[in-house]
Symmetry: C2
Subunit: 321 residues, 2 copies
């Protein structure tokens, strides 16, 4: 496939449909017209073969995930996704590979209203996909990491740990059980949550990409607060609950596994019902924001946990010491 | 250098200064507030080591060029550059390399008023830099490729062919003459032109990145017109005029060499003086837009040129056949 054919193919299959897309792919740049009274939220994330997904990941899954991780960042800002650009660097690709890659992109974008407005395709020994995503929020309404307040509940969407468990199943995926296939699909097909529905309902938000504790740590340090998290309150999917070999293993996968792309938020207790009703997925309270800096992990009895994997997960970086 | 330290370093050295940057690097995404009555222009370009610059290019030059090529795309739209994101994928990098890379970025951004509002650093075997740049234009005022009209002059900023000549000098750069060093610097330090000053003065614009004939061809096909270009009117730097071994060689470098990042525009004859006065660089008429489709190359006497390198440069793709 020649250098520009992927972009041509993208353009054909991804015709701009938004009224506020003044000009899509095909010029030196695209032209966008954000609506009055709105701000533009922008994020960029790169996926690299062998690092962010296994080398033998099907192209549909690569396309899907490269979009989803960026939509998740927009969700964590409470933004309505609007536009994105895709920069693909890859070894010589077949037309079949590209068609399947675009299939995955289209699937990730279905029902989002997003226009692909730019792209770049270049040859490279390392398969690399950089996506930049733009979203819209009413001025001043974006969710940020630095808004957590003492007394807030900490809550998380969906379930945690599936993607990290799925990665352990990947090598034997051909003979995987139904549970293992479910876990793998969380790794290959992460779904961005509807963060826009949390606007006006939560004080702070982040998406869980590096692992829960690491990501909560980012919120805490930017907000100048601390938190206690109940490891036994972390929501587990039925597949993970059955798959984890021990309670300790389940806790580790949920607390430190990355790639879940759930949203973790802090919110006042009286906003909990409204936030839960606004979402179309489980929404679980997992802890509380406190004035004491640092992040404390407990079990269901309130006893402090200090398993070995905490130190390995970089706990020192996040506990205020 | 750890994965996130480059972004931390970028954040420290590239503090957001624009009033319309509501939130810079450090959250899930940045928040931008485009001024009322303006549209946002967005472009993305990837540079890959060994393909877009020689493997042994100094990090300052890599940083500089990765910014400049994107600013050039914004210039070709007539946009005021405003924001950008930088995604760097690289083998393990020293702090020294990163400092020098950022030096080049800062140099390319000096006096532009641009804020770096996002980034991503990942480990990769292949050094890859993807930049997404955003600019602002008054609504409806962006310059496009598809506006060329029959009777327009075709004009180009600066001089053509230096970067392609510089590439031929690269292998012996340590012993390069002053002329050769000047040509090499056009390759390593391209400068985006002030395309914003051409708003309201030209009908169509494109930046010369693939090579003049290829880029003019893009304008012609999108505008549904043709053109005749005078190969002997193409502006040459004094260094190139002395360096080129023959008239044919100079024409080839100027007509097909890429990476010049000059602007090629079409404009009505009565706007020429105004456009020239608005720019701070040479602005040379090189041809005229015609109704006959295709691109014709002549010498100063108006005789058609059909050198062998035209076919090799993909001429067939652009001549309407």
């Amino acid at each position: 496939m020649r250098e520009f054919e992927l972009i041509d193919s993208l353009r054909r299959r991804l015709a701009a449909t938004r009224a506020d897309t003044r000009l899509g792919i095909g010029d030196d740049a695209a032209i966008l017209a954000p609506p009055p009274g709105h701000e533009v939220v922008i994020t960029t994330d790169t996926l690299i073969a062998g690092r962010h997904f296994p080398d033998d990941t099907p192209p549909e899954d690569i396309g899907f995930k490269s979009i989803a991780v960026n939509l998740s960042d927009l969700a964590a800002m409470g933004a309505d996704p609007a536009w994105l650009t895709i920069a693909l660097a890859a070894p010589a690709l077949s037309a079949g590979w590209c068609d399947r890659f675009i299939d995955g992109i289209l699937e990730a974008l279905s029902d989002t209203g997003v226009d692909v407005v730019g792209g770049d395709t270049t040859k490279s020994d390392t398969l690399t996909i950089s996506v930049t995503a733009l979203g819209l929020v009413p001025a001043g309404a974006a969710l940020r990491r630095d808004g957590a307040r003492v007394g807030d509940l900490v809550a998380v969407t969906g379930s945690l740990g599936d993607a990290a468990a799925g990665l352990t199943c990947w090598p034997h995926r051909d003979g995987a059980s139904a549970d293992e296939r479910a876990l793998i699909s969380r790794l290959t097909r992460p779904t961005a949550r509807h963060g826009r529905r949390l606007r006006g309902r939560v004080h702070a938000a982040i998406d869980v990409s590096d692992g829960l504790l690491a990501d909560v740590g980012h919120m805490l340090s930017l907000s100048g607060v601390g938190a206690t998290i109940d490891a036994d309150a972390l929501p587990a999917s039925p597949a993970l609950a059955r798959y984890a070999a021990s309670v300790d293993e389940r806790r580790r996968l949920q607390a430190t596994g990355g790639d879940d792309y759930e949203l973790c938020v802090t919110l006042p207790e009286d906003a909990l019902d409204s936030a839960r009703a606004a979402l179309d997925c489980p929404f679980t309270v997992i802890g509380r924001i406190e004035s004491q800096p640092g992040l404390r992990l407990t079990d269901a009895h309130g006893d402090t946990l200090d398993p070995q994997w905490l130190a390995r997960a970089g706990w020192d970086h996040f506990d205020g010491h």
